[in-house]
């Protein structure tokens, strides 16, 4: 398995060059902002970074995981492998996700040792379902519209929609529009814990249900992506 992962990493890595530069700049800006206002840094801020920033990086990395074959018109290479197509897709996805988590770990690690102690493991674990979901949305849009840039844009749109929903909910004084399909359920729990309102804030005790729901949605999108790639290959 590790050999396959390394093999897929060698295929995916060159497609991430320009995206990687963009991500590097973003991470640098975020770290600069947090270190300059380190007195206001809280665990909830780290939760926001983990559940909103890491998925965005994963979406940027995942949009082009199939570009190595598809950009050159060599779709049949994807079907010609010994393993089933969904294995290949899964490996590529996991590789891009791991890269995103690595970037996130570096960012949160810098804050953990530089500013304040954080529950790193829990933050990274909570970011995985959100990252997987947004990554698959990005990949699905790329396959549907044939352009990685559209994949980035779709993921960005979903991310912005989630941000807007969260802002509206905060402004509406506790009204929650959809507590199930939200990327920031663990951050809400951190906020409630910090305010000492864990018992009196609804939905925060079932934050893990939201993560399971995101995994289910991810599975559905992954199935759709697999079918789409098969159709594309067979059409050729």
């Amino acid at each position: 398995m590790l050999i396959l992962m390394r093999h897929n990493l060698r295929i995916v890595a060159p497609t991430l060059l320009w995206t990687g530069i963009l991500v590097f700049i973003l991470v640098a800006l975020v770290l600069l902002a947090q270190f300059s206002a380190s007195s206001h840094f809280k665990v909830e801020t780290a939760g926001t970074l983990a559940e909103q920033f890491i998925p965005l990086i994963a979406a940027f990395f995942s949009a082009g995981v199939l570009d190595a074959e598809m950009k050159r018109g060599a779709h049949e290479l994807l079907r010609s492998k010994y393993r089933p197509l969904w294995h290949t897709l899964l490996y590529r996805l996991v590789v891009s996700l791991l890269l995103a988590l690595l970037v996130g770990t570096i960012m949160l690690g810098a804050l953990h040792w530089g500013v304040k102690r954080l529950p790193l493991g829990m933050l990274l674990l909570a970011s995985i379902p959100s990252a997987l979901c947004l990554a698959l949305i990005s990949l699905w849009t790329r396959l549907r519209l044939g352009n990685a840039f559209m994949g980035y844009m779709a993921a960005l749109a979903v991310w912005l929609a989630n941000l807007v929903m969260t802002t509206i909910e905060t402004g509406l004084g506790g009204i929650v529009i959809n507590p199930l399909l939200t990327m920031t359920s663990y951050t809400h729990r951190l906020h409630a814990e910090a305010a000492g309102a864990l018992e009196t804030t609804p939905f925060v005790d079932w934050w893990w249900v939201s993560k399971i729901a995101l995994m289910v949605v991810s599975a559905i999108i992954f199935y759709s992506v697999t079918r789409r790639v098969e159709n594309l290959v067979e059409a050729d």
Binding site: G174, I175, L181, E199, P202, W206, V209
Partner: protein, 631 residues
């Protein structure tokens, strides 16, 4: 070409349909999850920022999008529809909300009857209770409903300010229905507690104590049991049953500690909760001292001391808690000293001294008459200056006062246990008097009720009744039959005036009408008065006064009713007083203000604004921006 266009349009329609289904699916899934969560959790512990129940708050967007149909007709009726935004912005929003609350109360209270097996019946009754209370308060304030009881608040020189009180008997009925029909519901103890507190406020002591006992017996582990036990302990202490008071206080402490353990498992208690526990230990130590149980006193003092030391070590305590902690420490020291004296006496075997002397408490008696006949059912309340904060109109001080009594069939009342001090006298009375055949009544000024000034130069008052070192007999509270007014509520205009009418008064030769700003609306109109005269204006805010007339109706012009900011006319509320005069222009009767409240209809507001009334403004900085005094 047409075929291609048709194909393209169909494709667009498919895409838009999928997009719409995606968005609706997002809301449907969220609604389904919220419903499942609500059915599996105790909703009483969720208190949102908006004064709405959980379901009403969380499903407000679904009701706006008309998506509440998916969980059945009972759920759709339970959530209902929010009030019209257009109505809220075009008319008096308080009046619109009052009507909305009353309508929702009726719908929600009928839900259990229409859908006996609905999952939302308990929540519906709970929400109906809240809506009923909202309708009562808003309805009385906006003259949507005529009050049944009035509150006479003592003003200067023996005069009275009267306001109508919201009628809460419907709310009490709904709460009782919830507790009786759904005793296993999580809202049942809260409903019972509310009913008990309402009965206590209305002076029905026996009923309130029965309900408090029911809470402690049927729901001993609920947070409401703590409040009920506290109320019973206070009542037992007042009536001298110290052992019972101690046992009830101990029970309240146990419930408080259990609730705190459930809320903060394995964590140190927050400051407010720890302070509450400290208060319980101090209360128990005082009661045990009176019962001469010195061992228990020492135990309670030790626990209280430990809590005090822990609270003192907390780094960031709120200012209010710091002050309370300081007074608790004084109390702790006092009890500690008394316990030391008692222990000394016990060790010397000369008998433990009696309970420490209680502060001087006396009784206040008086009589209430209406047209020289006994007036039963009038609740007389003494509120002290500390509660009122030098403002006799403070309803909070009146509601929170324990010094109250209801007049009996002969009109006599007796208020016991009143410590020495200066008090305001207030009366809660039925607006329609049974002795006078349900005629409307109003209080009469009584110059015997003097006002004590705290500091004359500041024009602030302490109260009208002084209790020093003996029982006091209060001046007779007199009521008289009032002139009946017809105009009430939302009044339409007649041209550029509003008609005000009333019933004739026997023997009246003429009438005079004064239109005032309603008691809670004076700030809308006070900028027109010079600052030096504002205090006088606030006491009697006359906006318009008619000439003497023998007719039974006057047309009050709209222009004087314009607020300082005329655009706010839809929020303004008014009252009017009709005075009947005899042949010598001597007043012989007045109307009852609580039944003479009105607001301007939307048409009247439009007519008023057409007159382009003057806009009053007040400069905050008379020297202007550049620091130079304006010419």
């Amino acid at each position: 070409m047409a075929k291609q266009l048709g194909k393209r349009l169909r494709s667009w329609a498919r895409t838009l349909t999928k997009l719409a289904l995606l968005v609706l699916g997002y809301f449907w899934l969220g609604a389904a999850y919220k419903l499942f969560y609500a059915q599996t959790h105790d909703l009483t512990r969720f208190k949102g920022q908006l004064p709405l129940s959980f379901y009403q708050q969380q499903f407000i967007l679904e009701s706006l999008l008309r998506q509440t149909w998916m969980f059945g007709p009972d759920f759709r009726e339970y959530i209902g529809t929010p009030p019209s935004v257009r109505a809220l912005t075009s008319t008096n929003p308080q009046a619109v909300l009052a009507d909305y609350c009353r309508q929702r109360e009726q719908e929600l209270s009928a839900l259990p009857t229409r859908y006996p097996r609905s999952l939302f019946n308990e929540n519906a009754l709970e929400d109906a209770f809240l809506m009923s209370q909202g309708a009562a308060f808003l309805g009385t304030a906006t003259a949507r409903e005529k009050p049944v009881r009035g509150l006479a608040i003592q003003a200067d020189n023996g005069s009275w300010r009267t306001v109508g009180l919201p009628e809460l008997y419907r709310s009490a009925g709904l709460a009782r229905r919830l507790a009786d029909e759904y005793p296993a519901s999580a809202q049942a103890p809260t409903a019972l507690l509310r009913v008990a507190q309402m009965e206590e406020q209305q002076g029905h002591t026996t009923q309130s104590r029965t309900l408090y006992q029911r809470i402690t017996l049927e729901y001993p582990q609920s947070p409401e049991a703590e409040d009920a036990a506290n109320a019973l302990a206070t009542a037992a202490y007042t009536s001298g049953h110290l052992r019972q008071s101690r046992d009830l206080k101990q029970h309240a402490l146990e419930v408080a500690e259990q609730t705190a353990r459930e809320k903060f498992p394995g964590q140190p208690l927050p400051a407010s909760t720890a302070f509450k526990v400290l208060g319980y230990h101090l209360d128990l130590s005082e009661v045990n001292l009176q019962l001469q149980q010195l061992k228990q006193v020492q135990d309670s003092l030790a626990l209280a001391n430990r809590e005090t030391q822990r609270l003192k070590t907390l780094p960031s305590l709120e200012q209010r808690l710091k002050e309370d902690l300081s007074s608790a420490q004084h109390r702790l020291q006092r009890v500690h000293d008394e316990a030391w004296v008692a222990t000394l006496f016990q060790d010397l075997k000369v008998g433990v001294p009696g309970p420490p002397p209680r502060p001087h408490e006396y009784s206040a008696t008086g009589r209430v008459l209406v047209d020289n006949q006994p007036f039963p059912g009038v609740e007389v309340v003494l509120s002290d200056s500390h509660n009122n904060d030098f403002n006799p109109g403070s309803l909070v001080g009146i509601a929170g006062s324990h010094y109250r009594a209801v007049s009996d069939a002969q009109g006599y009342y007796r208020i016991t246990g009143v410590p020495a001090g200066i008090y305001w006298i207030n009366a809660i009375y039925p607006l329609h008097s049974a002795p006078l055949g349900n005629a409307v009544v109003t209080p009469i000024s009584n110059p015997a009720i003097k006002t004590t000034r705290a500091m004359p130069q500041l024009n602030s008052s302490l109260g009208g009744i002084t209790i020093t070192n003996k029982p006091v007999s209060l001046p007779v509270l007199r009521f008289q039959q009032a002139l009946t007014t017809n105009s009430f509520g939302e009044l339409p205009p007649t041209g550029y005036a509003v008609p005000l009418s009333w019933q004739p008064w026997p023997g009246a030769a003429a009438y005079r009408v004064e239109v005032l700003a309603a008691a809670n609306n004076v700030f809308f109109f006070n900028l027109r008065v010079p600052r030096a005269k504002r205090a006088v204006f606030v006491q009697h805010p006359v906006l318009w006064q008619s000439a003497k007339t023998s007719a039974l109706q006057v047309a009050c012009p709209l222009l004087p009713l314009a607020p300082d900011r005329p655009q706010g006319v839809r929020f303004a509320q008014y009252e009017y007083v009709v005075t009947a005069l005899d042949n010598k222009d001597k007043p012989i009767a007045t109307s009852a203000i609580p039944l003479s409240r009105f607001v301007l209809s939307p048409e009247a507001c439009v007519a008023l604004l057409k007159l382009k009334p003057h806009v009053y403004r007040e400069r905050l900085n008379p020297k202007g921006f550049w620091g130079r005094r304006r010419r």
